[in-house]
């Protein structure tokens, strides 16, 4: 049985897809190397003694649509190579493990950042993890891993955590590294909110309020975070466009004032909005009541 239910996730639809539009530049056939790499990550009986572990099922980017109905498009937008799914069972208890091999650590982090919810317990060995009673999700290297316990029993949850730890220790490769702007003040404190948005599907999924600014812009990369909460909630982002035309379109649609100050920022104090054009196709954006203080300290 295809564990579509577990995999998945996101997005809408089907709703907006155009499956291959973004995928074409990323995915390719599953190579011998990638199969070997994936095989080395599979769970075995040693990882979960007493549990039956199914043979892995693998699906390439081309097969993803059939595997994740209604959820494939956003993976393809980020850049996806293959997914390996395994089901683990012990008597009535079951859990599903899906290992998504993305094209690079940024893509794995990006998907993680879209999927994570309100996270609880810690998972040692990777910075980017989200543990909830319903799912363990983490990104490490170019991999995004989802482990879903199918019931609420303590033994299932324990096994899920055991499987997660085994996979964390097995996955090698460069960890996603936060861009410099988000490693130092004033934005370094907000890493738990950091998102990497790579195209319109991700944007509509997690930041629809900004979608109208990107109307007609297909290719962009954005790191977005939130500083403060409640009445002080302020958004900060760095956006990189693929073309000057897209950058100009964004500029006109986000309502940035025409004139810029000596520090390079265009400020609309009334809206608490500021934008810094960093040379054609890259921009910084601040939006919210802390705009002024963040702008002064964001070098």
């Amino acid at each position: 049985m295809k564990p579509r239910s577990l995999i998945i996730a996101i997005l809408f639809l089907t709703a907006f897809c155009g499956i291959a539009v973004h995928a074409s530049s990323h995915h390719g056939p599953i190579t011998a190397t990638s199969i070997t790499a994936a095989a080395s990550l599979e769970l075995t009986a040693k990882d979960l003694p007493g549990w039956e572990i199914s043979a892995p099922e693998r699906y390439s980017a081309k097969e993803l649509y059939g595997y994740i109905n209604g959820g494939a498009e956003i993976y393809l937008e980020y850049g996806f190579r293959q997914v390996t799914g395994q089901r683990c069972a012990q008597k009535k208890h079951e859990l599903q493990v899906d290992i998504y091999e993305m094209v690079n650590p940024e893509a794995a982090f990006g998907m993680f950042s879209v999927l994570r919810g309100r996270c609880g317990a810690a998972l040692p060995g990777t910075q980017w993890h989200c543990v909830t009673p319903e799912q363990i999700l983490f990104a490490k290297g170019a991999y995004l891993v989802s482990i879903v316990p199918y019931d609420r029993a303590a033994e299932t949850r324990t096994a899920a955590m055991q499987a997660a730890k085994a996979l964390v220790s097995r996955i090698r490769g460069a960890e996603f590294r936060t861009p410099p702007a988000f490693r130092s003040a004033p934005l370094s404190t907000s890493q738990k909110n950091l998102r990497y948005i790579h195209g319109p599907l991700a944007l509509q999924s997690v930041l629809d309020e900004w979608s109208q600014w990107f109307d007609g812009v297909e290719r962009f990369e954005m790191y977005h975070t939130v500083v403060g909460d409640g009445g002080r909630r302020t958004e900060a982002a760095t956006v990189k466009f693929r073309s000057k035309r897209d950058a100009e379109r964004f500029l006109s649609q986000c309502g940035a004032p025409a004139g810029k100050g000596k520090d390079g920022w265009r400020v609309d104090a009334q809206r608490n909005f500021a934008l810094r054009d960093k040379g054609g196709q890259s921009m910084d954006v601040l939006y919210g009541p802390q705009m002024e203080s963040l702008r002064r300290s964001w070098k």
């Binding site: 239910s5 997005l11 209604g70 799912q135 999924s205 309020e209």
Partner: protein
């Protein structure tokens, strides 16, 4: 539906042409004709010319929605069949004002009808139309005198139905049917190399749109055909006389995938080409065609368990027990109430900061096509609290 034959043929000769280029971004925009919002042309005008019948959408109760709420309807993450049955019973009586449950159901269907239950198994076991709500519908239909053999559970993909638990073993005597299907060897193709799904679409009925997409060999079996036509499934054009629509209470980005989406994308082939340039239009226009418009008599949104983010796929962190059923004959009004419930949850969980005007565009469009009532101020929304 032979009475619509003249309408069928007319599609072949009166297709609109001269399309605009596909829009670049998802089409959650509201107006079809907003300045600068060019969309590919479609054959909606042909559908609208076909005379309506007394049972055309929005059916017997335009602008009416009953919301049944029962906090005991989900226990340990699973729907409770008994409670689902009571919720449905109370909602049906409230909606119809009938003295008995049998009378209530017989307002919509009769023993001679072949009744299709349009479920949604897309997100697998975690987030599909629940077997418990489906059980309740079947039990109440049977109690109203509908023979079990006259009931069909259907969707686009037969194998997805099976994976979500809609099997012959689980629902003995009820037919399980999908437009796209495989054989026992797991092949989509018959011995002649023809897709099984091709035999299950009706080329006399189609939604035409001036946009297309090429599919690779892995994707084609899920689409059945390429080109500018999306053909209706024979299940809706030929086999069923009535349809009861049972979607799941789910978000799709900032909007929802409920009654209209479940019907529109569930009843036709070649849908991937439509998502990007015409998502809202497809949701509003495909149900305007008689095989859906004149056969869907009731909508029951399964909101015992749904999601507020990450939909329409099943992302466990965002799955939530809503403990609700929404019932009405008007799919637009039901969708509007469902939208408000999902939006409230999204705002509460801070996955969205404010309502998005893009979220309800397809509903306003559907209202313009007279499929139902989209304005919340005009919807009579009755709550039945079973706490």
């Amino acid at each position: 539906m032979r009475s619509h034959d003249s309408g069928r043929r007319r599609f072949l000769s009166t297709l609109a042409t001269g399309a605009a280029a596909a829009a670049l971004l998802p089409s959650l925009h509201l107006p079809l004709r907003a300045v600068g919002d060019e969309k590919p042309a479609t054959n909606i005008a042909d559908a609208l010319k076909i005379p309506r019948t007394p049972q055309s959408m929005p059916g017997r109760y335009p602008g009416r929605v009953v919301e049944a709420f029962d906090p005991a309807s989900v226990r340990e993450g699973a729907p409770v069949g008994e409670r689902a049955n009571v919720m449905l019973e109370r909602a049906m009586l409230e909606l119809t004002g009938a003295a008995t449950l049998q009378e209530a159901w017989l307002q919509f269907v009769g023993p001679e009808d072949i009744i299709g239950l349009k479920v949604n198994p897309v997100a697998g076991k975690l987030l599909s139309t629940s077997l418990e709500v489906t059980d309740a519908v079947i039990a109440q239909l049977e109690a109203a005198g509908i023979p079990r053999k006259n009931i069909v559970i259907w969707d686009r993909r037969e194998f997805e139905l099976h994976e979500a638990g809609f099997t012959a073993e689980r629902f003995p005597g009820v037919r399980i049917w999908g437009t796209e299907c495989k054989d026992e060897k797991d092949s989509f193709y018959d011995a002649d190399g023809k897709l099984y799904g091709e035999k299950r679409i009706d080329k006399d009925w189609y939604y035409w749109a001036d946009c297309e997409e090429s599919y690779d060999e892995e994707t084609l079996p899920y689409m059945i055909n390429e080109g500018k036509h999306s053909y209706f499934s024979r299940i809706v054009t030929e086999e069923l006389t009535k349809i009861i629509n049972i979607p799941v209470l789910k978000n799709a980005g900032p909007t929802v995938t409920l009654c209209l989406k479940n019907l529109a994308y569930g009843a036709i082939s070649n849908t991937a080409r439509l998502h990007k340039p015409l998502w809202a239009e497809t949701c509003a226009q495909v149900p305007c065609f008689p095989p859906l418009r004149d056969k869907v008599v009731l909508n029951i949104v399964d909101g015992l368990i749904g999601c507020y983010h990450g939909g329409p796929g099943a992302n466990p962190q965002f799955i939530t027990p809503y403990h609700r059923l929404l019932v009405g004959s008007d799919p637009v009004a039901v969708d509007r109430i469902g939208y408000d419930i999902v939006l409230a949850k999204r705002l509460e969980m801070e996955v969205q900061k404010e309502p998005s005007p893009r979220g309800t565009g397809f509903l306003e469009m559907a209202a313009e096509y007279k499929l139902g009532v989209a304005d919340p101020a005009l919807i009579k929304h009755t709550k039945v609290d079973l706490s």
